[in-house]
Amino acid sequence: MIWSRAKLSPEVRLLLDGERLIEVLPSAARARALSRARAALAAGVATRPIPSRAPSAVRWAAAAGLICAVTVAVGAAAYEVGLRARPTAPLVAQSPGGGLPASHGNARARPVFDLPATPVLGAKQTPSGAIGVRLELRLLEQARAAVAREDFVLAIQLLADHAHRFKRGRLAEEREALRVRALVGLGRRKDARRAAADFEASFPRSPLLSTVSQMLDSAP
């Protein structure tokens, strides 16, 4: 122990000493965790045997086989599509906004106020993309709930957190609209007006523009 702490400066040790103290959880969080644990016991989930895992060599072989099969299938499909598309669909005929699926555009335009509790993910989305969207949604839902509770300080923090992690996220438009609402709620009219102007500049065709404008009008 002495050896291991030898190189930590006194101020870092002091900070570490402060972090040693384990804070007591709020009673609601504690009750929730225990209730979930009891429910798991009652459902038998916690005592269900863990499924035995195949040896790693078998798993690697299976994974390699699967990758080969998928590669062949994708290659064949691409070849087939290429053959069909070549005579009828020249590249120049693509729309100027090509590459962005229509569903993506819809997702951007969808106001956060109508978002479902759990995200609906398209089959074509990659797992990381889906997880990213889910994380975005969770953060924005928390921010929206904070706004609904009129806890605007927390809402601003959550929105800043979202902006930090997902600067150009799919829900950036909704985030900026919520920021205007939170700033209005805090009585920071000047900041709210600036945020609204930024919003208009960034999303000139947003369906949320009128909502943002109403938010400013409703400011005290």
Partner: protein, 171 residues
């Protein structure tokens, strides 16, 4: 006392520690509840193998580390919830409570920049006072690796905190 009761009792007793361990391991605050539940399920499944003569916290931390690592692999990127913003948002204040909170946030922020395997060793040894041999046993790594990770992690922590202090002092 049945296995269920014993396991639930131990879980209840160390619930605060489990929560804090997940935070120290960089789990986002809104995900801690779900991972705590995962930990309970894993703990109950292995409870018959637990040796009650050994300390419980390192045993729990082993679960927390594996669950957090699997979770991190799943989402492929790690974010420490609110940690960065917490440090950024809190200006210096005379209140001791605020200072203590700020200090803790600073430690978490510095920890968040250390890769998970090294961070786990650092947290166990420096914060939970777990001896190196026990850390090696819980994380299933040789003691030499524990020492090596510890050395690097301490350097990273030191540098991280220095950077944060400098930033806080400059604002």
């Amino acid at each position: 006392m049945s296995l269920d009761d014993a396991c639930l009792g131990a879980f209840q007793q160390e619930l605060d520690y489990v929560h804090r361990s997940f935070q120290r391991l960089g789990v986002m605050s809104f995900e801690v509840d779900d991972l705590t539940q995962d930990l309970f399920v894993a703990l109950r499944r292995s409870w018959s193998e637990y040796d009650p003569t050994r300390p419980l916290r390192p045993y729990l931390f082993g679960f927390a580390f594996r669950i957090a690592a699997a979770h991190k692999r799943k989402r492929r990127r790690e974010v420490a919830v609110g940690i960065g913003s917490e440090v950024d948002d809190m200006g210096p204040g005379p209140d001791e409570q605020l200072q203590s909170k700020q200090g803790r946030a600073m430690v978490l922020a510095a920890l968040a920049r250390i890769p998970l395997p090294r961070r786990a060793v650092l947290v166990m040894h420096e914060l939970d006072d777990v001896p190196v041999a026990e850390v090696a046993s819980v994380l299933s790594i040789p003691p030499f690796t524990v020492y090596s990770r510890l050395r690097k992690a301490r350097r990273e922590l030191q540098a991280g905190i220095r950077r944060l202090l400098k930033k806080a002092g400059g604002e």
